[in-house]
Symmetry: none
Subunit: 409 residues, 2 copies
């Protein structure tokens, strides 16, 4: 018996006039999921608590049974782990942009002309040449203009502000301590030095000279944000006795799984958008389940969230239909406890995460099948699970997998 | 106004093919409970939390308003209290079996031929002759081959393993400390000595000589298990200002009530099984309610749980129908707040407790009557209570009894 949490990222929504006052999920044609709903049990779920807007990171941590208020201080550690940086508890990690600054350090392009190549060479210089007292610097490029920075050493703190000014036309923000500790002051100072040194090291780098010659914005400064301390996390397998794996499109979700000690599977062609190679996503999910190497599989597909952020009503609906196609295989598997959910709602009207609960269903043997027959936010609210929380999910799955012990006698 | 929690132990279940995909409760003819559901309010309940499989002990502690994660370390203390051993906070208590060992101390019968008489005489020897340093030994026989052991003294711990090997053909397990404390080492040593001495004291006891002559297995060794420390518990009446009583079939449930400082009522003819004297159970429940001596009554009938453990589909269904007969009198009482529930599900397909929520209903004056008309797991999930927790029950009952104060102004 395998347990699966299948997260359709950001799927939850609100009624949309253009869809006849249906949500994208309600309006989508989803025969596979409807069939599983008909034969399963449904409900709504507050991933963290009612009205709280979860991030994808805090939502997934919660679904894996960790307390996000305890282990989550920022996105950096999970982004870093997601691109295979070997982070350690206590490391301070950041997401970064390669950006373009002019000679006065005014940021003229936060994404450095959406640079697609050469950042590995820039990263090499950063790793070799940045000098920050006794603090070890680990920098790695990610997709496009993105990268991660990890600071390792004694006396560091994550209680500091961001360097990224968020809007062009400004200098990098001076990083400031958020509390009175020496550690916060020291770390803020270190990050400010890092930003300055990045400009000095990158501005005349051959990669950038060539970009300027080609009329492209140079990637001549690095702007850290999303600071967080890498948490002490009890590995998933130690907590539950289940060998776990994560099949996901984005580094953030894979990073969460990595920090939880789970294996991760990369999906060639996955973009995390509605343009993702859905056939490849499909193949890697099904292959992982069928490999029989794992007791527990966390799946995440990201396009519905992206469409929600973009306010793309029909794109979101159509992507949900693509995901339903993936589900056809799972519908016919007998030896799984499948929990299908979103991590949060990303209403196309809000263009960001909201605190609306998400619709969930379970496919498993032995359920108290309810009389809900289609998958939708409002249909699910009438289901036999009523209203649950994200912290309940792994308890419910493990109970249905029959791998839990009685508490008491 | 009297408050009553009526627990039909282990009643919750899952759909069963042999019952036309109904649960035993859904399939049972329950006119009295259906009538109260029609005139009352229904819901589902997670006694501890969703997906957690409660023991009957931890479930009842929760229903009485105690935190099982705080007060529950094992079943022993409640079994001891249930047969009127006067336990004190700090005592270390065990359930025990009288068993049969051969001359090499191999256990050949864990239940000593299901001995029915003479264990009181064996217990007398144990109480008088066992010598365990400065530790006081209190041993008492219970039904059949069962007994309880209480250790009282300084420097004791419940962080030790069991002596019972669980399967015949093995020697008693050497009891081991579960942590590094001196207390755990000392207590493990004490229990190992107790087991050895029990064999020396009982092997040639006249009761056993006679059993051997009659071709019966002798009860010549005592195997403790289910160790727990007797908790400090604020008495029920002090917590709630309600004089409470428990009418139950089994020692475990009465023991929980006793440790909570409640009175208990013994029911002649009660077996805790589906063969119980249901008329006697009925009489003692109704007499206790009508005595007007108590503000709060905890009722437990145990047969549905036993049938669940046995996988006895029709036995479970038929027993629920018997319980419904008991309910006819309660249906017509006006001055009660009656909360009917199971403590946990014991699906006949699982043959053990599961984490499935249990169906509940309340009969009381002034309720927001919902439109559910029959008592069943899936019908209840559509009720006006939605999904509640075991910790909510006494709050709801006391509110409906109108004995609680506003919090604030």
């Amino acid at each position: 018996m395998k347990g699966i949490i299948f997260v359709i990222d950001g799927m939850g929504d609100r009624p949309v006039k253009e869809l006849g006052d249906k949500t994208p999920l309600e309006n989508a044609r989803t025969p596979a999921m409807d069939k599983m709903v008909e034969e399963g049990i449904t409900g709504i779920m507050d991933t963290i608590r009612p009205g709280v807007r979860p991030g994808s990171d805090t939502a997934h941590l919660t679904l894996l049974g960790y307390d996000p208020y305890e282990v989550y201080t920022g996105r950096g550690p999970f982004e870093a782990a997601g691109i295979n940086v070997e982070v350690k508890p206590g490391d301070i990690a950041f997401r970064c942009n390669f950006s373009t600054a002019d000679e006065n350090l005014i940021i003229t392009d936060r994404r450095a002309g959406r640079i697609q190549s050469g950042t590995d060479k820039l990263a090499e210089v950063i790793n070799n040449e940045v000098k920050l007292d006794d603090v070890e610097v680990i920098f790695k490029e990610s997709d496009g203009h993105r990268g991660v920075l990890v600071l390792r050493g004694n006396g560091l703190s994550d209680k500091i502000t961001d360097a990224d000014p968020k809007h062009e036309g400004n200098k990098p923000k001076t990083v400031k301590p958020l509390d009175d500790s020496e550690e916060a002051k020291f770390t803020a100072d270190i990050v400010n030095k890092f930003v300055e040194q990045s400009y000095e090291l990158l501005k005349d780098h051959p990669v950038n000279i060539e970009r300027i010659e080609n009329g492209e914005n140079p990637a001549n400064i690095i702007l850290p944000r999303g600071v967080g301390a890498v948490p002490h996390v009890t590995p998933f397998e130690e907590l539950y006795g289940l060998k776990g794996v994560c099949v996901a499109e984005t580094g953030l979700i894979k990073g969460i799984a990595k920090i939880a000690g789970m294996d991760t599977i990369d999906i060639p062609g996955a973009t995390g958008g509605i343009d993702t190679d859905i056939d490849s996503v499909h193949k890697y999910i099904v292959d992982t389940i069928k490999s029989n190497k794992y007791d527990f599989i966390l799946v995440n597909v990201d396009g519905a969230d992206e469409a929600g952020h973009d306010g793309d009503i029909f794109g979101k609906r159509d992507f949900i239909e693509k995901v339903d196609n993936i589900m056809a295989d799972l519908k016919d598997m007998d030896d799984i406890v499948l929990f299908v959910t979103a991590d949060h709602s990303t209403p196309v009207s809000v263009k960001d995460h909201s605190g609306d609960p998400v619709p969930v269903f379970i496919k498993a043997p032995g359920l108290r099948v309810d009389d809900v027959k289609e998958y939708g936010e409002r249909a699910a609210a009438k289901g036999g699970l009523c209203r649950i929380r994200g912290t309940d999910v792994l308890y419910i799955i493990r109970d249905l997998m029959n791998v839990t012990q009685k508490f008491g006698a």
